[in-house]
């Protein structure tokens, strides 16, 4: 399955619909979250016919800009609103991926979003399946969307 396309389509739709903003896949290919300068990662776990996680990795200014656009407010620093908004962004992108999987007969459950932030952290997953990372360009800089997925059931 072309997970890259699902991520791009889903992320674009969310930005256009909820933030009234355009976002496009970045020029950089093969960016790895481990080498990317991020201050915050929001993620949603997946279980069922596929297991894995969808994560958004972003630097602080992008997280503040996304939250500000969603809520129509200006923010100076990371706060509870930013955690909540970035968790919901991950939830919506994961929901989009889930819808595609459901259409292929792979029903998955989504976890409640989690958010990690700080100067130095690492996110690991025990999933052994595919790993797709898409870099997106915004006016304020770049963020990554990562999907790790392992099919545990055969599609219906």
């Amino acid at each position: 399955m072309d997970y890259r396309k699902f991520i791009i389509d889903g992320t674009r739709e969310i930005f256009e619909t909820m933030l009234m903003a355009e976002v496009s896949p970045g020029q950089q290919k093969d960016v790895q979250p481990e080498e990317f300068e991020r201050d915050l990662t929001s993620m949603v776990g997946m279980a069922g016919a596929c297991r894995g996680m969808l994560a958004i990795h972003c630097p602080k200014p992008i997280a503040l800009a996304i939250t500000g656009a969603l809520l129509g407010i200006e923010l100076d620093d990371v706060c509870e609103d930013v955690f909540d908004a970035m968790g919901e962004m991950a939830n919506m992108i994961a929901g989009n991926v889930k819808a595609v999987l459901c259409n292929k007969g792979l029903d998955v459950s989504l976890s409640i979003p989690s958010v990690v932030s700080g100067p130095d952290f690492q996110v690991d997953s025990l999933v052994e399946g595919s790993r797709t990372v898409v870099a997106f360009d915004t006016q304020g800089g770049e963020f990554l969307v990562e999907l790790r997925l392992e099919e545990t059931a055969v599609a219906a």
Binding site: D81, N91, C102, I112
Partner: protein, 123 residues
């Protein structure tokens, strides 16, 4: 008496977006109530008159499907229409919510137009 709506979602961001979308869609609710999960929603319904409920499915403590079951068991609130606002498009859990009496669903992300179209019938 003005109409009231209850928005149930564990994300405070989403509750604010839904409230804003209702205003943009032209709905003039006198009261907009909020709850962070199904359990909290039942408490709000115990104390307040609500004309329509917009509920997420995927929530901690008591999810949207469990909330619909509990609501159906209480004659005082069983007939209040519920519309699901969720990322769960086309999934088994959304089908279950519709079987339990949810009137329809709005898929996240959504526009005020989509909110208007889905809720117009009940408000």
């Amino acid at each position: 008496m003005g109409k009231s709506v209850l928005i149930v979602d564990d994300s405070s961001t989403m509750r604010k977006i839904v409230a804003r979308s209702l205003r943009q869609a032209g709905f003039d609710f006198e009261t907009i109530l909020e709850a962070a999960d199904g359990q909290e929603a039942l408490s709000v319904l115990d104390e307040s008159r609500v004309d329509i409920i917009l509920s997420d499915i995927n929530m901690p403590n008591m999810n949207g499907v469990e909330f619909l079951r509990e609501k159906a068991d209480n004659p005082a609130i069983a007939n209040i229409p519920v519309v699901m606002i969720t990322t769960e498009a086309g999934s088994d859990i959304l089908r279950e919510a519709l079987q339990l009496g949810a009137k329809g669903s709005i898929k996240k992300p959504f526009t005020p137009d989509q909110v208007q179209k889905t809720l117009g019938e009940y408000v």
